[in-house]
């Protein structure tokens, strides 16, 4: 091994020495260079969002070099012939210039748009992973809330960016934004006049959105992303339950060199996917839409996917409007706009932000959690999550109900009527189905732990009975399953006199006790019928003797199942 390094090369030792004498970084690096990162595919979803954000910053900076955030009207004289001579805003003209007259401009514009979609999508799936594995639990609630803020900001960032090219499609989105803003009680007209610098559309909104889009919002996002990373680093990543993994350790690969290289490669993969999409898949062909005019709109106008749920909510709302004070010039409540604009977003974002605290209030669980839950092992949480996804999904689909109606030859009106019912029914249905599925999966785990795996080997016993040989599960898989811990429950049991414990006597306390009873507890114990309820924790050597009996034809243990009766 003559190629091994024996001493740090001078080119690295010199600058390192210079820096350490001034910053003292070695003590930090000593502790952190070999920081352990656990391995699981689902831990990489958030990284998609992170890398998309970096791509957004890079491509976005490129776009600012040519983009002119002005609504001043100019005649177009660029190289796209169909629009030559048409009066348009400088914003639209410069967006066309980037698309047609700057080499690589179209590529960067399309990469920026694709990366934006991937950014939001990455955040969403990452949030779902964190939710379903309970990785938001103590001590990670703060990081969870930062994540919810990031998601909200990403939507705002998307909306402001989407409006900048000032084409007909982006203008339609802006018009809807205005219609929603002006509908807000008391402050609606003020907000719109302040935002647009007067009446819609005015001449300011593009430059104002521009400063929000390239400076204020990304600045806050960058700060929050940094905080998100620092907290993740300090608190160490959660890990999936498995062999040798528990709440007091973290098992995986070291940051230097393995995780670092993996993360770098993953960034490059994300970049390659975005570049590939931008090359082969057209997105937002603004030149086809023409300049914005409030007098026109193209049929089939759709927002970017992450705004689809708001669009769907607007579409299925019945025409409710209230005039609180009749004909006097105040008190108009356009509920058909206010409700869909605020309620679904409010339910989802507030629900996300509060969930860790509500769960703790219900379970009374104040412990630190570093081992992720398998979704099946907290069936109510998983069901609530699936309910929320269904709620969101129905709204999202309804945001494209005109496309659904056209492509599937369904009456447009019926898609709306169906949506009005489904928005209530589908989440409830999703809850029930998910709950049953979770329990079913828990039962299957229980069967594997207490009976073993079906080996596919049929054995004939001396008296003629056929049985299938069951073998104990592989060590790592068993450890993974035994990572299950019961969901905590409040001490809700009534004392012998029938009096509920303190704090559970009022109406709210009773509700809390009821919820705790339903939410907490062990639904399907892993070792059911084998006499030991505590089948989790560090060592499970006590299981070995039980499985040693497998294959010996011990029918009373129920390990081998007869297939003849």
């Amino acid at each position: 091994m003559s190629d091994e390094l024996k001493a740090t090369p001078k080119a690295i030792a010199g600058p390192s020495n210079f820096l350490d004498e001034r910053l003292g970084g070695a003590s930090f690096l000593k502790r952190n260079m070999r920081k352990i990162f656990p391995d699981h595919w689902s831990f990489l979803l958030g990284e998609i969002a992170l890398y998309s954000f970096i791509i957004l910053l890079l491509t976005g900076t490129f776009l600012t070099l040519w983009f002119k955030p002005s609504m001043g009207e100019v005649p177009y004289d660029g190289s796209y012939a169909p629009l030559r001579g048409v009066m348009m805003s400088e914003a639209y003209a410069s967006s066309l210039e980037i698309s047609f007259d700057v080499r690589g401009g179209l590529l960067m514009r399309q990469m920026h748009h694709w990366a934006a979609l991937l950014f939001v999508a990455g955040m969403m799936v990452h949030a779902l992973r964190v939710f379903f594995t309970g990785a938001y639990r103590k001590p990670r609630e703060i990081n969870w809330i930062i994540g919810v803020l990031l998601l909200t900001l990403a939507l705002a960032e998307g909306l402001t960016g989407y409006s900048l090219p000032d084409d007909l499609l982006s203008g339609a989105g802006l018009r809807i934004t205005e219609g929603v803003a002006i509908s807000l009680p008391l402050v609606g007209t003020y907000i719109t006049f302040f935002l647009f610098g007067g009446e819609y559309p005015g001449e300011d909104v593009v430059s104002r959105f521009y400063s929000l889009h390239i400076l204020l919002i990304p600045g806050i996002i960058l700060a929050l992303v940094t905080a998100h990373m620092v907290l993740m680093w300090v608190q160490k990543h959660t890990q999936m339950p498995g062999k040798g993994r528990d709440n007091a350790n973290v098992v995986g690969a070291p940051f230097y060199p393995a995780f670092m290289a993996k993360a770098g490669a993953y960034f490059l993969f994300t970049l390659a996917v975005v570049a590939g999409l931008a090359t082969f898949t057209q997105i937002n062909p603004i030149w086809l839409f023409g300049p914005y005019t409030p007098a026109d709109v193209s049929a089939g106008s759709q927002p970017d996917f992450y705004m689809g749920f708001l669009e769907g909510a607007l579409r299925i709302m019945p025409p409710w409007e209230i005039n609180l004070f009749g004909t006097s010039h105040a008190g108009t409540l356009p509920l058909s706009v206010i409700i869909p604009a605020l309620v679904p977003m409010g339910i989802i974002m507030t629900g996300l932000a509060l969930y860790p605290f509500l769960e703790r209030w219900v379970t009374g669980d104040h412990r630190e959690h570093h081992v992720a839950d398998r979704p099946r092992n907290n069936p109510h949480r998983t069901s609530i999550g699936m309910s929320a996804i269904t709620f969101y999904g129905v709204l999202w689909l309804l945001g494209a109900n005109d496309e659904i109606a056209a492509n599937f030859h369904i009456s447009l009106n019926w898609t709306t009527y169906a949506g009005r019912v489904l928005i209530f029914v589908a989440p409830a249905l999703a809850y029930v189905i998910t709950y049953r599925m979770c329990l079913g999966l828990q039962r299957s785990d229980q069967a594997i732990i207490s009976h073993g795996v079906e080996s596919g080997v049929i054995k004939r016993l001396p008296h003629g009975e056929f049985i299938e040989v069951h073998t104990p599960p592989a060590e790592d898989i068993e450890a993974h399953m035994r990572g299950k811990t019961p969901v905590l429950m409040l001490p809700v049991a009534e004392d012998p006199a029938g009096i509920p414990p303190k704090g559970m006597r009022g109406p709210l306390g009773k509700l809390r006790a009821l919820m705790s009873k339903a939410y907490g507890g062990e639904k399907i114990p892993l070792d059911d019928g084998h006499g030991h309820g505590d089948g989790h924790g560090d060592g499970h050597g006590h299981d070995e003797d039980e499985h040693a009996a497998i294959g010996s034809g011990n029918g009373s243990a129920g390990d081998d199942r007869s297939i003849t009766h």
Binding site: I36, S79, S99, F100, D101, V102, R103, G105, L106, L107, R175, I176, G179, S183, T189, F193, F194, G197, G198, E199, Y200, N247, N249, P254, P257, A258, A261, K262, A265, Y266, L268, F269, A275, T279, F280, Y292, T293, P294, D296, V297, A299, L314, R315, G326, T327, T332, S336, D402, T416, I448, V453, S455, G456, V457, I458, K459, V469, P473, G551, S552
Partner: protein, 371 residues
């Protein structure tokens, strides 16, 4: 996976290693499946790769990195070679730049992944976690230090200081908010916003003091009533002189429809029509999209944004969708030369509802009108 025949003949005590329908070793749920042999293990948790495999992987990685090298050069060459300036040329340039960039990055990414997975050791290192909470004594020290500092500063003892500081903070905090007031460029009092929203340019007159003509959107042609004579016809119409004023268009754009006299129902204000020609605001009363689609047979006006549907033959009343109010009708007539003109402004505010709007339709009815 056909090796189960001899497996089945195993002695009773032995557990079969692998059979049809069960996962391959490594991913197997069968307890007997053995983990692949570690090549050598100097440090616990660090499994070195087999050198022969690693050497093969090295060659693949080198190939990947070479592809990146070539693709990057292809990118630079494409940048120089493929000029832009027409949609076709831009398309070619985009394809050349994008595919070379994609391949370059992909090559690097794939190379690094193979490097990590086949050349670097396999790791299963363990690190201890520590409770996030600080040690009890540290907390106590912090608590004491906080109290000492608070008392030393005099913030607790000196009430005057504390109260005037709070007093000072309140208006200072409002300063940034006050600064935002001029975001509305018109500088008019907020109470005026409402009256602005209630009017459109249709209430104005031309320089000669005549009512505004209706002109076709796009061409700017005035419309002679006699020429707009095919029933079922529809036009998108804007006010004369405001064809390029987006602020005016956002409220004043019209949809003009020609009916046969017998088609018109009671919801339409007859004295606001001319010879079966009816003008409605094109701005949807839901959130303000242009209600641009018209179905001739049913006389339905449809807003493509959220599918609010209005019956044009019956005063544009809402028959479907989230819009709560009909599209306001504009009173029209013809001038001496036979061109369509506005009799005046809309009687009710157009476009989306807002807090100060009130029930304008009821207001009109109270005054004896029809709305």
């Amino acid at each position: 996976m056909t090796d189960n025949e001899h497996e089945i003949e195993q002695a009773d005590e032995r557990v079969p290693k692998r059979v049809i329908g069960t996962p391959a070793p490594g991913t197997s749920m069968l307890g007997a499946a053995e983990a692949p042999e570690a090549a050598e293990e100097d440090v616990p948790g660090v499994t070195l790769q087999d050198e022969a495999k690693a050497r093969k992987a090295e060659r693949i990685v080198a190939l990947c990195f070479t592809i990146t090298f070539l693709a990057s050069i292809a990118f630079i060459v494409s940048y120089v070679y493929f000029q832009v300036g027409s949609p076709e040329a831009t398309g070619t340039s985009n394809l050349a730049l994008g595919s070379s960039l994609t391949i370059a990055i992909l090559g690097l990414a794939v190379g690094i992944v193979i490097w990590v997975r086949q050349i670097m050791p396999k790791y299963s290192l363990v690190q201890e976690r520590h409770p996030m909470a600080s040690a009890e004594e540290d907390r106590e020290v912090v608590g004491e230090t906080f109290l000492r500092g608070a008392n030393e500063s005099g913030f607790v003892k000196r009430k005057l200081l504390r109260r005037t500081l709070l007093l000072a903070a309140a208006p200072l905090g409002l300063v940034p908010l006050v600064l935002l007031r001029d975001l509305d460029n018109s500088k008019m009092p907020g109470a005026k916003f409402n009256s602005m929203l209630r009017h459109t340019v249709w209430g104005e007159k031309t320089k000669e003091g005549k009512p505004l003509r209706l002109v076709v959107e796009g061409t700017g042609q005035p419309i002679r009533a006699a020429d707009f004579n095919s029933p079922g016809g529809i036009l998108s119409v804007v006010p004369e002189g405001y064809q390029h004023d987006l602020n005016a268009l956002a409220k004043a754009t019209l949809i003009l429809i020609k009916f046969r006299p017998e088609e018109i129902k009671s919801g339409v204000r007859q004295n606001w029509t001319h010879d079966g020609i009816v003008a409605y605001s094109k701005i949807c009363t839901h959130v303000g999209c242009p209600a641009a689609l018209y179905e001739q047979n049913t006389h339905h006006i449809l807003c493509p944004c959220h599918q609010s549907t209005f019956d044009a033959a019956d005063g544009a009343k809402v028959i479907f969708g989230p819009a709560a109010r009909p599209l306001p009708q504009l009173p029209i007539t013809v001038d001496a030369e036979g061109y369509l003109i506005a009799q005046g402004d809309f009687e009710v505010p157009v476009g989306p509802s807002y807090w100060e709007r009130g029930d304008a339709e009821a207001e009109v009815r109270e005054k004896g009108g029809q709305a």
